[in-house]
């Protein structure tokens, strides 16, 4: 009887951890969802933009201590949020000068050819970012310091790690903020329109190139914020982008192409899968579980949970 009780506790603990982690994963996938799911741009470097966000947060909070005046509880959160605009700018610039050469209305009609160039170019960017990061930041794993990562709240017998819990809450708030931006503001709607149908968008007077640029910056910026939040509860090094690429794509594909809301649910589910897989699989194989899930979705239900249905954001 006791055995069963502890098994249940383990189960719910894993689920709780999965949910908390899933929140930030969800936000991370929303960023990719904007780019891959809606704009249909294959961004191989997405994980590396997240890495940049993590390091931006790190240097703001711990490395240079710019935000140290805010205190150890608030600074990490602000750092994560500020990582967004910083990476937005980097993404905006990269899109303007490099990525737009292989995407955009010109390429909308070309199928494999357009994607081929996108994949390769963003792979190149990924390599430069990850290895550039290695040069700039060194290979020693770091994390954003906060006493939160060592403390937990306890509800019943389940422990909720504070750093992860705060990350979860902020992630949800950001997702809601993004949702409101995309549905309530003119700019947000223009972005959706430009992604939905670039030709019609041009006809109504929307500057499609500019919209795509902003959307790209937004996508990588959001993921950077998620990265900043993840950085509070785990350590990272410049190559972490590669680890997360499949996780991100798994989340977006699971959630369904074209659906940003779906991307969030997809990321959340992936977080759950990852944490709960530790119940049956050894720790080192948790990412393998994600790959298996990814392969299963791609083979059997490529439209994901919410795809192919005309879903709002």
């Amino acid at each position: 009887m006791d055995e069963l009780k502890w098994l249940l506790v383990d189960f719910f603990q894993a689920m709780a951890a999965g949910l908390l982690v899933g929140g930030t994963y969800g936000l991370m996938c929303v960023g990719l969802g904007i780019i891959f799911g809606v704009m249909r741009v294959v961004n191989f470097a997405h994980g590396d933009f997240m890495m940049l966000g993590m390091y931006a947060a790190f240097y703001l909070v711990t490395g240079f201590g710019t935000l140290a005046f805010l205190g150890p509880y608030v600074a990490p959160i602000v750092g994560a949020l500020l990582a967004g605009p910083i990476v937005f700018v980097i993404g905006w610039l990269l899109h303007k000068y490099l990525i737009s050469q292989v995407t955009g209305a010109r390429v909308m009609s070309a199928e494999a050819e357009g994607h081929y160039a996108q994949i390769i170019l963003t792979l190149g960017i990924a390599l430069v970012l990850a290895n550039g990061g290695l040069i700039l930041f060194g290979s020693t794993p770091v994390s954003v310091q906060t006493p939160l990562s060592r403390e937990s709240w306890e509800i019943g017998l389940i422990f909720f790690n504070q750093a992860r819990a705060i990350g979860f809450i902020i992630a949800i708030l950001c997702a809601i903020g993004l949702y409101l931006f995309l549905t309530r503001t003119n700019l947000g709607k223009a972005l959706r329109a430009a992604a939905d149908n670039p030709i019609a968008a041009a006809y109504v007077g929307i500057d499609v190139d500019r919209s795509h640029r902003i959307a790209f910056g937004l996508g990588v910026g959001i993921t950077a914020v998620a990265g900043g939040l993840i950085a509070i509860s785990q350590s990272f090094q410049p190559y972490i982008g590669f680890d997360f690429v499949i996780v991100m794509y798994a989340g977006v594909v699971l959630g369904g192409m074209g659906s940003i809301l779906g991307a969030f649910w997809g990321g959340l589910t992936i977080g759950l899968v990852q944490q709960m897989s530790t119940l049956v699989l050894p720790y080192q194989l948790q990412n393998t579980a994600i790959f298996v899930v990814f392969l299963i979705i791609v083979f059997f239900r490529p439209q994901g949970m919410f795809g192919r249905v005309w879903e709002r954001t």
Binding site: V102, Y116, L121, L127, G133, Q284, F294
Partner: protein, 593 residues
Amino acid sequence: MKRQSLLQQYAAIAIFAVAFLAVGFAVRNSYYQLMMTLVLIWATMGLGWNMLSGYSGLISFGHAAFFGLGAYTVTIAFVKFGITPWIGVPLGTIVGMIAGVLIGIPTFRLRGHYFALAMLAYPLAMLYVFEWLGYQEVSLPMKRENPAAYMQFNDQRAYMVITMVVVVICMIISLHVERSRFGRSLLAIKQNLPAAEAAGINAARWRMYAMMLSAAMAAAAGGIYAVILLVVTPLTVFGALTSAQALIVTLFGGVGTFWGPIIGSAILIPLAETLHAELGHILPGIQGVVYGVAIIVIILVAPDGIYWKVRDRIMARRTLPPLPEPTPAVETASIAADTPRPAFGAPILELDDVSRAFGGLKAVEGVTLSVPEGTIYGIIGPNGAGKTTLFNVLNGFLTADRGTMRFAGQEIGKLKPHEVCARGVGRTFQVVRSFPRMTVLENVVIGAFVGSKTDDEAERLAMEALARVGMADHQAHMLAGGLTTRQLRLMELARALAPKPRLLLLDETLAGLGQNELDDVLPVIRRVNREGVTIVIIEHTMHAMVRLADHFSVLDHGRLIASGAPADVTRNPAVIEAYLGKKWMDRAKDQVA
């Protein structure tokens, strides 16, 4: 521009091998010798990647899976079972090939970026699995007695020779693939999958062969890598950088040619390794940055790689004579355009109640028609009437929801496109995608594969087809990139005619041609018809159609609304209404009344 002969290519390979080894032997420093060997290893890896992704266009990010399997096979065989790498490397190659098949079977069902992403997942999964299995770092033991039997040499140059042998084998295999129907078929698949299948190419089979060879080569590279470096970790052999390197050296050097990986490897590997050696301690990861910058630059400036960029420049400099207009071979042909035709034969194509819907939209609904052998049969109708859908169903790209289709008395409803083609049905497509860097003959010969057993026979069929459309002999060896629209259409026609089909489906072959151009193309179609080929043609250009077709069937909103001789059909009220609108028809009726 005739392609270089086989002998010339062999000579080039030999010169390369000898020159490379000569340099290698002259170099004293064992570090540089190692670097040269690494160039060869990555060239092999690149050749393997090229075999699948370069030739057929399916971008793989997961070739590290095969590389790693090759490396671990050699390592585990040696460490656990004491098997010498002389056996271990070939064994690893076989393991790689099997892995290729197992991975290919499910993954080939995916397209484009899904394929690339799925391929990425495999080596990463293997990485985690091997780490978990406890193979964090495995060293190959040094053998004191008889090291040569275990592929262990003091002199680095011995490894260079061994690896060069592997490289040359891979180059020769690639060379032969390129020149054979295997390679041509892969290229056709890469260029335009539906057109390739309609021309009779069994895409699934060729892709699988390509995957097997590709995986085998990558595994061989991995096996030798293990032998040379003597230490294997999951990250180095299964890691993303390994997959990326295969891709990068090929992309940089030239995709779709076996010289590409050689060039790319010879330039990038020494560059990266040197930078790593010199600056690695201050700038760790400089290698990755170099590779990244290399691909970014190449994809923007020379997307197909250095080899093609240089070759195009050289070709452009040699002033090519402008393509002459086709000789009046059309008139001197054996059968003149106005020879009376034999009486129309029995129905060669019969459709009965063929229907196909997409969701709620009935694209084709209850179409029943019968095409007598030897006719030119036109299928017309306003935009969106369902004509192309009908062709796609006929061809095998779509299945009918109900109804039967018979060709020469045999049911074809369940056949795949290449099988339909094999039965004797040819098809042209609206968008003509040629291979601009290949000759006209090479473009046409792709259609001939399905009707021939040997490559020579295929070439002969292709030349015959070209003659039939009036493209004279010397045009056959011109690069397709310089053709006019009219000539491209004729070439496309030749490709469909190459296997000597009994029935030809022409999909808007005349679209957009001006009056002069029509005057050249129409007689060709008539002549082909008089030689006995039944033609079913979809067209919008009514002026041309009424001159060409014996019989019209009119489709509107998926249904057949009229059928008969052109003169009757174009006066049929239902047809006029379909094209010009109900109000026009009503007014016309009012006027008559």
